[in-house]
Amino acid sequence: MSSPVTYDAIVVGSGITGGWAAKELTENGLETLLLERGRPVEHGKDYVGEHKTDWELPYRGWGDRQLYEKDYQVQSHCYAFGEDTRHFFVKDTEHPYQHDSDKPFRWIRGYHLGGRSLMWARQCYRWSDLDFEANARDGFGVDWPIRYADLAPWYHYVESFIGVSGQAEGIPQLPDGRFLPPMEMNCVEHAVRERIGAAFSGRVMTIGRTAVLTQPHRGRAACHYCGPCHRGCSSGSYFSSLSSTLPAAVATGKLTVRTHSIVQSVLYDEEKDRAVGVRVIDAVSKEAVELYARVIFLCASTLGSTQILLNSTSPRFPDGLANSSGALGHYLMDHTFQAGATAEMPGFEDQYYHGYRPNGTYLARFRNVDEPHPDFLRGYAFQGGAWREGWWRGAREPGLGAELKQALREPGPWMMNLGGFGECLPRYENYVELDHENPDAWGIPQLEVHCTWSDNEDRIRQDARETAAEMLEAAGGRDILTYDRGAPPGFCIHEMGTARMGRDPETSVLNGWNQAHDVPNLFVTDGAAMASTACQNPSVTYMALTARACGHAVAEMKRGNL
């Protein structure tokens, strides 16, 4: 064995938060080791689905159904999964997990350099104090140890770096960010925005705030509007670790990237009372190696980071590292979604749009903002958009021959969708644990997930259906169809919690700096840290928390405290 290599910092995971941690730590002068459990992905070259047309895909986009049923039973449900992106999703057969048979949980994952930052939906919404004060207000969960003022400068910092396009609206519960020019709404979206605004005071529908560049930004090109970002973008026009943070980290000369490196556990030295490194299993050879550093950042995804901590046991921490509170693994959350309404929007038949816009609309939360709703706590927002139907409508309308072909040459009716994204209460009984009876191929106990919606989430979805239909009707819609697709937890891919932040070491795992109460040189900055979910897409908040935590870690190291 060669002598142990010690780094200043180890970052576990190369996705949205791992990339940010690598950038911040290296730019602050730390020799940083970035560990990624999956394969390397080269920016551009490995985006093998990019710019493919339907006829260039073996199944024209319908997918290799037999393969999916065999190996991708969970992943293949994801909207971003397909013939063009399958290489960015894990095989469920190779990476199994358990859940209760009556409580389905969909864990959508991509194990490769860049992680899910390659396939994410890019929506970026700041939280406000309505969100940071929510737990304290109604008593579910523990109070956030931070407020909007703590995070606002860090939102500004990360938005400035990644590039977020959007429209400033001055909505108190959805603070404006530092925006690049917004993408355009189409004719129907403009009309819906105006009509909803006129009919319902305080309800604002804006264009999606998205980490897609509408002008050149920091050496990255503006969007070329090919459409499906999640195939990867060789012009780097949307934010991913590979387009943005990792190149910055590499440029410092202080980053070492090690792929195929599965972190089995964090090493804890009882005498020093510190985390000293990680134990890594090589994904290919399955050999174990120990790697050391002064600070450890877990950015392995909500459940990935918690799995590592639960698997890091010692006499002092028999139930998982930094788990003196017993909160580790508990308070798992996800957004409840896929409930809303769709309507046909008459009156714009002579209008259309040009091009493929990788973005939709966002209608900010309006429930439990000014006055309490009688049926549920917290709130929801609507993502959606308008489009004209295409050739598929020919399947449900009678018609054959030249007449059918001529009819489908024209775009179909305008449609408008409002899909709710609702907040999920933090509850102790939604949790994960290790299944020691069922280790994976690398000898690591599988995660066993126990998670289901509560009445509050059910009522949120019900209200979202009803208000979506009301607003579409007020906006002039007809043939309104409401829906609730019964999406199980996990499927929104906004899984959060299980190593929550809090003020009290007895009830939370992390402090207000994403730093373990029990182990000060251990940081968790991904979704595991979340003490509540709000209803906004969480990634930009993870980024801001990560950058802020890195700043704190560096300052503490300089002070000699770490």
Binding site: W55, Y225, G355, Y356, W391, R396, E397, G401
Partner: protein, 197 residues
């Protein structure tokens, strides 16, 4: 070997008597396309392939742009039958195709391929109306799929998908840009022209 010998040989090979149009298509003495160069169906028999290609062409015919036959819809159908469906789904489609043919013969006294174009359309119209009704009922019930769909519903869906995802369907019949370069939210339809594929 004379052409007649060849025809008889093929007929024997296929275990039956061929209608002239099928034999013509198989032997390439008709201008009608049965597949890309070098392509051979892996699940469909040559007769079934011709029947599928014919129905598809009736649904989306050549007009001022090529139709379903030229766009290779039958190849797409054979791909789905061979690699996409499981054995049960494959059998279901082929049974439906056979049922379609026997219902046609029971109703008209002749094989579908021997009917005139107008006679063929007369067979398809009620099946198309039934399929559309089932689709609309499913949609009203909030479902994306029709339970136990009849043959023609599937055949029309596959024809639409096979055609409008083909290069012909996307670029000649509709319009498609690999990279649109920009996005304009409101533009007169007359300027944009056809539907985006």
């Amino acid at each position: 070997m004379t052409r007649r010998d060849v025809l008889q040989g093929v007929a024997v090979l296929l275990g039956g008597v061929l209608s002239s149009s099928v034999a013509g298509a198989i032997l390439g003495c008709s201008p009608r396309r049965v597949g890309s160069a070098g392509w051979r169906p892996r699940t469909l028999t040559p007769e079934q392939n011709e029947l599928v290609a014919t129905i598809a062409e009736l649904i989306l015919p050549a007009t001022d742009t090529p139709g379903a036959r030229e766009a290779g819809v039958n190849e797409f159908v054979d791909l789905l039958l061979t690699d996409w469906l499981d054995a049960q789904g494959r059998d279901g489609f082929l049974t439906g195709l056979a049922g379609f043919e026997s219902a046609c013969q029971a109703g008209t006294g002749r094989p579908f391929l021997e009917l005139s174009h107008d006679e063929q359309m007369t067979v398809l119209v009620p099946l198309d109306e039934e399929a559309a009704e089932l689709r609309q009922a499913a949609r009203a019930a909030g479902l994306t799929e029709v339970d136990d769909p009849p043959f023609f519903l599937t055949m029309k869906e596959w024809t639409l998908a096979g055609y409008y995802t083909s290069e012909i369907g996307m670029t000649q019949e509709l319009q498609h840009l690999r990279i649109s370069g920009s996005y304009a939210g409101c533009r007169p339809l007359a300027e944009v022209g056809r539907s985006w594929a």
